[in-house]
C-alpha cells in the first residue's frame, strides 16, 4: 500500500512557544517530528495519539529511513487493521530527547553546536507536554484515545493524569506507573557502558566521527535481555552453537545467543544516538506517577474521566503484571471505568509488538467503542 493510499504524512512542527520542563528550565524552538496515518475528520474527533517506546520513533507505519525496515507497528496500524486508519487518524511523534527529528541532545543549541550534555534532563511528562503542544497546533482539543506500550504506556498514563480532559480513552500495554529499583539498575548498566566508552568524550562526540558505538551496543544488549523471557530465549537459541560444530575455547560468539545479542547491539548503533539513550532512560527512571501526585497513585487519576484499559503479559518480567494491577486498583479507587487483563504470550516484554491475537482483540474491542 502506498503512502498516498495510507494517507501517510511525515512532517516536523516547530513549537511556537518555549516548552517548560519539569526540571525548571525551558526549551525554545523545539521541533517535533511526527507521522500521521489516516484522515482527521472535520470535527477533529477521530484522532488516536500513539506514544512510542524507548528505542522506537514516529515511524509507526512508514519504513524506517535508516534501516529500511517496516514501521514498528505496521502490523497493527492501517486500514482495516487492529487500529483502523480508515476510521481513525493516528498520530505518532518522536519523543523529546529523541534522535529522529524531534529536538534532543544531538540537536543544535542556540550557539550552533550540538547540545550534547548541555541538553536539560527531561521527564516523561516533558515528552507528553511536547506532544500536547502538537495536538494544540493540529487544533485537536480531545483525542479518541491515547495508546502506548512500555515507555509509550508511561506517556499514556502521564497524559491521562495531567491532561485528563484531552482524551476519551487510555490504553496502556506492558507498562508501569513507576520505575522499580530493578528497572533503574538495568538502565544504569546501559548508561555506564556508554559513558565508559572512551569515544563518548563526556558526550561531545557529535561531529567527531564515530561515537561511543561499543558502549551503546553493550547498553542495547543488556536492555534487550530484559525484553525477552527466559523461555523465549531458550526456545530460540537454547545452547546452540553459532555456525560451528564445537566450542572454540575462546571468546568468539560461540553460542547463537551471543551472536544474536552482538548483532542487536551493533545494528542499534546505526539508528540510535548514545546521548539520546542516556536522556530517555533517565526520563524513564525518574518516572513515578504517584510521586507527582502526593504519593498516592489514585490521586493522580482524581480528574480522570476517560475509559482505561490495561494489558500485561504473563512472561514480562520487566514490567510484570503486578505493576499493571497497581494502576488498575488506583483507577478503581479513583472511580474511573477500567479494564485490566493479563494475556498469556511466550515472548516476555516484547510481546506487545509481536503476534499475540488476544492482544489484537483487546485493542480493537477497546478502541472501536
Amino acid at each position: 500500500m502506498t503512502a498516498a493510499e495510507l494517507n501517510l504524512v511525515n512532517q516536523t512542527l516547530v513549537l511556537p512557544a518555549a516548552l517548560p520542563l519539569d526540571g525548571g528550565q525551558s526549551l525554545s524552538s523545539v521541533e517535533v517530528a511526527y507521522e500521521t496515518v489516516g484522515t482527521l475528520n472535520p470535527e477533529k474527533s477521530n484522532a488516536i495519539l500513539l506514544f512510542h517506546a524507548l528505542t522506537m520513533d514516529q515511524h509507526v507505519v512508514s519504513a524506517h529511513p535508516k534501516t529500511g525496515k517496516p514501521g514498528w507497528w505496521s502490523k497493527s496500524v492501517g486500514p482495516g487493521k487492529v487500529i483502523d486508519t480508515s476510521r481513525f487518524f493516528v498520530i505518532c511523534a518522536n519523543v523529546l530527547g529523541g534522535c529522529m527529528g524531534t529536538t534532543g541532545p544531538a540537536s543544535l543549541a542556540a550557539d550552533g553546536t550540538p547540545y550534547a550534555m548541555r541538553f536539560p534532563v527531561i521527564t516523561i511528562r516533558d515528552m507528553v507536554r511536547a506532544q500536547v503542544a502538537l495536538l494544540d497546533a493540529l487544533g485537536i482539543e480531545q483525542v479518541h484515545a491515547v495508546v502506548g506500550g512500555s515507555m509509550g504506556g508511561m506517556q499514556a498514563l502521564s497524559f491521562a493524569a495531567n491532561w485528563p480532559e484531552r482524551t476519551r480513552a487510555v490504553l496502556v500495554i506492558a507498562s508501569t506507573a513507576r520505575h522499580s529499583a530493578q528497572n533503574i539498575a538495568f538502565h544504569e548498566v546501559g548508561r555506564q557502558a556508554i559513558m565508559a566508552d572512551p569515544k563518548w568524550k563526556g558526550g561531545d562526540y557529535h561531529g567527531a566521527g564515530k561515537g561511543p558505538e561499543a558502549g551503546l551496543a553493550v547498553a542495547r544488549m543488556a536492555a534487550h535481555i530484559t525484553y525477552l523471557s527466559e523461555a523465549g530465549l531458550t526456545d530460540k537459541f537454547g545452547r546452540n552453537l553459532q555456525d560451528r560444530a564445537a566450542k572454540t575455547f575462546g571468546f568468539d560468539a560461540d553460542f547463537q545467543v551471543e551472536s544474536y545479542l552482538r548483532h542487536q547491539g551493533l545494528s542499534f548503533t546505526d539508528r540510535f544516538d548514545a546521548n539520546s539513550y542516556l536522556y530517555i532512560t533517565r526520563a524513564m527512571d525518574y518516572f513515578d506517577l504517584a510521586e507527582e501526585h502526593g504519593g498516592r497513585l489514585a490521586e493522580a487519576f482524581a480528574g480522570a474521566r476517560a475509559r482505561f484499559c490495561l494489558v500485561s503479559f504473563d512472561t514480562d518480567w520487566l514490567y510484570p503484571t503486578a505493576e499493571s494491577r497497581v494502576i488498575a486498583h488506583a483507577l478503581n479507587a479513583a472511580g474511573a471505568p477500567v479494564s485490566f487483563v493479563e494475556l498469556s504470550a511466550p515472548y516476555g516484554h516484547d510481546s506487545f509488538l509481536l503476534d499475540v491475537p488476544a492482544l489484537d482483540r483487546v485493542i480493537a474491542g477497546f478502541l472501536n467503542q
Partner: protein, 196 residues
C-alpha cells in the same frame, strides 16, 4: 432480557435502575451488558478467564481480571450497591469468606448457585451411587470446577449463621420460576438477594 441465562434474568430484573454493580465472575459480560443497556447501571466486572475479559472489553465493559477468592480485597467498603456472584460460589475455595467480601464491597449481594439437593441429584446418588452429571453440573467429579457443592438448605444455614438477611429468594427448575414450596427438592438453581 430473554437471551439471558434464567438466573441472570432474575438478577437483572431485580437490580434497581441506575445503581452501581460489581459482577464477580462476570463471564463474557452478558449480564453486565443488559444491566448497562436496559437499566442504566454502572456495571463493573471481575473475571478469571482472559478470553472472557477480552470479550467484555470488546463490549465496552469495564472488567478486571481477577479471582473471587483473592482479589475482592482490592475494592473499598460499600463501593457498590450490589455485588453479584452468579454460578461461581461453588467454585471458590472459601465460599463463606467470599460471601463476607461480597457484602463488604456491596451493600447487597445477589448469589446464584446450583442446588445439590435437587431430586435428580438425589436420584443419581440414590439409584446409581455416583456423583451426578446433569445439565447444570455437566462435568465429572474429578475435573469439575465446582468444588463446594451446596443445597438450598445448606445455604440458608450459612446465611443464618452469619446473621445475614435474605431480601429475596428465587427458585428455578428447567429454567422456569417455581414456587418456594419444597424448593430444596424441586429447584435446580437458587438465586438469593442478601444484605447485612
Amino acid at each position: 432480557m430473554s437471551a439471558l441465562r434464567p438466573d441472570l434474568a432474575v438478577i437483572a430484573a431485580n437490580v434497581a435502575p441506575g445503581s452501581r454493580v460489581l459482577d464477580v465472575g462476570c463471564g463474557d459480560g452478558a449480564l453486565m451488558a443488559v444491566l448497562r443497556d436496559e437499566r442504566q447501571v454502572d456495571a463493573r466486572g471481575m473475571e478469571l478467564d482472559p478470553a472472557n475479559v477480552a470479550e467484555c472489553v470488546a463490549r465496552g465493559l469495564s472488567v478486571m481480571q481477577g479471582d473471587a477468592d483473592t482479589d475482592l480485597v482490592d475494592y473499598p467498603d460499600a463501593a457498590f450497591d450490589y455485588a453479584i456472584l452468579s454460578q461461581t460460589l461453588q467454585t471458590t475455595k472459601r465460599p463463606d469468606a467470599v460471601l463476607d467480601e461480597l457484602l463488604r464491597v456491596g451493600r447487597k449481594a445477589f448469589v446464584s448457585f446450583p442446588n445439590f439437593a435437587h431430586w435428580k441429584v438425589r436420584a443419581s446418588l440414590m439409584w446409581h451411587g455416583r456423583m451426578p452429571v446433569t445439565r447444570l453440573l455437566p462435568v465429572a467429579w474429578y475435573e469439575t470446577p465446582n468444588i463446594h457443592h451446596a443445597t438450598v438448605r445448606d445455604f440458608r444455614d450459612l446465611v443464618e449463621a452469619k446473621g445475614l438477611r435474605v431480601e429475596g429468594a428465587w427458585f428455578l427448575s428447567g429454567d422456569r420460576r417455581i414456587s418456594d414450596a419444597a424448593a430444596n427438592w424441586r429447584a435446580e438453581h437458587a438465586v438469593f438477594l442478601l444484605s447485612r
